[in-house]
């Protein structure tokens, strides 16, 4: 093994320019795939981050009492994947009034949100426009403050049915940004159900609320279906624990983050079995993002797979550069007594060395290209960087191994004398004898016919569930069409081109054109390689076209589903 390794190194080192050319071409080829992995990975992670950020309140767990809310929140806050856990409560009020210089202003019923004073530092369900939340005082939603014409320092009276009216000094005005989540009915079995938010919202410090308002209202039971589905009709105090999941726990693709968020919720519920169940706003948002990410997956399938094939083809072509020399040298070694195993080991080691170098260089090129093309951070984690490097190395090694091992195997199946020939006799390849090109085209047509006759479409119609549905079988038809067309091109070259070239060259060429055509007619391998590359490029182009058409069609369907008509964008009047 050691001798084989040394021989492989010597063979590569003795022709540094050829080795370098192979490495550079392979690297350029695999850089395409590497860049695509980085880019799509970045896009998916951006979707995850965006979906996570869009959820102001991750988990809401209804509990029986203030004490239990405080106890559980304190325990949950200690867990590693939790960034914030707060006890909170919501309750109705029947009216609020303010006596000012211009008389008494009143507002109708609404809801109270009770949270700890430091709540808004980590939870983004409301933000202060003026002032802050102070124990014993009240913060008014800006709409309510406007209705009451109340300012900071004024006193407002809060009524709640038969309970005594309570007066609070206004300590701030806030904009409640997520009233639909804050005041939704909390039924863990049913999940999130954001609904029409209350018209008037007042915010109290949780301790103040527990001391002044809560004793006069009954507490809603977590298991009670009696929790009203209509906001404003809430009959009692809804104690709850609000939990924010640590963003560090939600990485990767939206579907991965969705799975993870579900695991976190289950873990919480198992840890406090029977004491709390959660309404999972986070999973709901991530599930939607994961469905949207199907577009990215489709993008990957439609772009990266043909791109990878293109890269593999280029890698194969790059590795073919030294095939003829390899064939003669390997035959010479075989003539000197080297075993088949030793020779295959030699070419495998050479391909591994070239592939590794090219993979590393390709990954570097990919990172550089993405860094240059995408502004800002691409969120490249160590794991993803390693994935890209491994993918690049694997692809370049596959390309190098395919060409070299094919040469080695072919040489071993020939006689030594045939292998040492400077010019080889050629025979029809196996796929031509098996008519795989025609088989692929027929199968492609059959799948197209089947999908068309069953009315299946990759794009949903307005009558169906508005979720993108992709079947792997949908991709078989174009894939087989690409393969069949490319192979047919090769076969056509082998027959028609040779006949045409021969006819044009004439039997006895005597001028430049004749010599060129005569030579071209016999350069089957080189022309086949060129055609293969053209085929792959065509496949890439068709793939892009199909994706663009599918995307446009889906966007049109989405617009019709949402608005009932196509959207027409017009420039604003000058």
């Amino acid at each position: 093994m050691n001798a084989t390794l040394q021989l492989a190194r010597a063979r590569l080192g003795r022709s540094p320019s050829q080795t370098a050319t192979q490495v550079v071409v392979l690297a350029a080829a695999v850089a395409l795939l590497g860049a695509m992995i980085v880019f799509i990975g970045h896009s998916l992670q951006t979707m995850t981050a965006s979906a996570t950020r869009s959820v102001p309140l991750d988990l809401q767990g209804p509990v029986r009492s203030y004490a239990e809310a405080r106890t559980l929140a304190a325990k949950i806050a200690q867990l590693p994947y939790v960034s914030q856990a707060s006890p909170a409560a919501t309750a109705p009020f029947t009216g609020v009034s303010h006596s000012g210089p211009e008389g008494i202003s009143s507002a109708g019923n609404g809801s109270i949100l009770a949270v700890p004073p430091d709540y808004s530092r980590k939870v983004d369900t409301f933000r202060f426009l003026r002032g802050s939340l102070q124990p014993g005082q009240i913060v008014l939603d800006q709409q309510l403050a406007a209705t009451l014409q109340a300012q900071i320092g004024d006193s407002v009276a809060l009524r709640n049915g038969s309970s005594p009216t309570r007066r609070f000094r206004v300590s701030g005005v806030a904009l409640v940004t997520s009233p639909d989540l804050l005041f939704q009915p909390l039924q863990p079995q049913l999940g999130p159900a954001p609904a029409q938010p209350p018209a008037n919202v007042a915010i109290l410090a949780l301790g103040t609320f527990a001391r002044t308002i809560a004793p006069h209202l009954h507490s809603l039971s977590p298991a009670s279906i009696g929790s009203p589905a209509v906001p404003g009709a809430q009959a009692g105090v809804q104690w709850q624990v609000q939990v924010q999941v640590s963003p560090a726990a939600l990485t990767g693709t939206p579907s991965h983050a969705f799975t993870r968020s579900g695991q976190i919720r289950n873990s919480l519920e198992r840890t406090f079995t029977g004491r709390i169940g959660f309404v999972d706003n986070l999973s709901s948002a991530l599930e939607t993002a994961a469905e949207d990410a199907l577009y990215a997956d489709a993008l990957f399938i439609m772009l990266a797979v043909p791109g990878a094939l293109l890269g593999l083809g280029l890698a194969y072509l790059a590795a073919l550069g030294t095939v003829e020399r390899d064939r003669r040298e390997l035959a010479l070694l075989r003539a000197r007594g080297a075993s088949r195993r030793q020779l295959l080991g030699l070419v495998a080691i050479e391909a591994a060395i070239v592939g590794s170098l090219a993979g590393l260089l390709g990954a570097g090129l990919a990172f550089t290209a993405v860094a240059l093309l995408i502004k800002g951070s691409v969120g490249l984690t160590v794991a993803r960087a390693v994935t890209v490097v491994v993918a690049c190395i694997a692809l370049s090694m596959a390309g190098a191994q395919a060409a070299r091992l094919a040469t080695g195997v072919r040489m071993l199946s020939d006689t030594v004398a045939e292998g040492r020939r400077s010019v080889r006799r050629t025979s029809r390849p196996l796929w031509q004898r098996l008519y795989l090109d025609l088989a692929a085209l027929v199968l492609s047509g059959l799948i197209y016919w089947l999908t068309a006759s069953t009315g299946f479409s990759a794009v949903v119609n307005p009558d169906s569930n508005p979720t993108l549905s992709l079947s792997i079988y949908t991709f078989f038809a174009p894939a087989l069409l690409w393969i069949g067309t490319t192979l047919l091109l090769l076969r056509v070259r082998g027959r028609v081109f040779e006949l045409v070239a021969k006819r044009l060259a004439g039997n006895r060429p005597s001028a430049r054109r004749g010599f060129l055509l005569a030579s071209a007619a016999r350069r089957g391998a080189a022309i086949n390689r060129g055609l293969l590359l053209v085929g792959l490029l065509l496949a890439f182009g068709v793939s892009l076209g199909i994706f663009a058409a599918t995307y446009d069609q889906q966007a049109g369907v989405d617009a019709q589903l949402t608005l009932g008509a196509d959207v027409t964008a017009t420039a604003p009047p000058a």
Partner: protein, 235 residues
């Protein structure tokens, strides 16, 4: 033979030529102060062991190599001082090679290999007396016109190479171990063929060989060793 008539007088000459490969401490002297002249229609054998400088001298005479010192003349004109393109034109106009390996173009048939050389020579102003198929018939390959090099034996390939050289209508044919890859019977037939063709077309022949018996077939022998001429004999 160039232009259809045999040349007369002195064709090629090396005057005090030396060739060194490498530089400074690693320099190797392949030829040292060699004087050789080749006249029209004569046959000369360059004989010597491997590394004696035979191939280097052939390359000098054919303008493939520029000497480190001294000069090379072709038909009295300095060849070594010409640029590469001009030396190429001079070669196409009268100097042909037959190498140890036939060096045929692999995607051309036997006919096309010869026809291509004829076409290139014609562009340089030379015209062979015979057409490519006639030249192949002359070397005994009339039935192999459409055979690719991979379909020919070693002796057949070498005969195609000779026909290809003749298609250039050479005044000087330089052969570098033309029988090195052949068995003795085939080698004998190739040498006989070269002699017959020289008799018919009147070109000068310089053949490099390490085989003393082959060298002895020719009326003039130049012996080389370590880049120097050891003997010159004419019979």
């Amino acid at each position: 033979m160039s232009g259809g008539a045999a040349a007369t007088g002195r064709l090629a000459e090396c005057r005090g030529t030396s060739v060194c490969y490498g530089r400074d401490g690693s320099a190797v002297t392949a030829l040292a102060d060699v004087d050789v002249a080749i006249d029209a229609a004569e046959a000369v054998a360059l004989w010597g062991p491997s590394g004696s400088g035979k191939t280097t001298l052939l390359h000098l005479l054919g303008g493939l190599l520029v000497p480190s010192a001294g000069s090379v003349l072709w038909r009295g004109e300095p060849l070594s001082s010409l640029d590469s393109a001009a030396r190429g034109r001079a070669r196409a106009g009268g100097i042909a090679y037959v190498f140890q390996g036939s060096n045929l173009l692999p995607t051309f048939t036997a006919y096309e290999n010869v026809a291509f050389a004829a076409w290139a020579a014609k562009r340089a102003g030379a015209r062979a007396q015979l057409e490519p198929d006639e030249l192949l018939e002359l070397v005994g390959l009339a039935s192999k016109l459409d055979a690719l090099p991979s379909e020919l034996s070693g002796g057949e390939r070498q005969r195609v190479a000779i026909a290809r050289a003749l298609a250039q209508a050479p005044d000087l044919l330089l052969c570098d171990e033309p029988t090195g890859h052949l068995d003795s019977d085939t080698a004998g037939r190739v040498l006989d063929l070269l002699d017959a063709l020289r008799g018919r077309f009147g070109f000068a022949l310089v053949i490099a060989t390490h085989d003393r018996d082959i060298a002895a077939r020719y009326p003039r022998l130049i012996g080389l060793a370590d880049g120097r001429i050891l003997e010159q004999a004419s019979s």
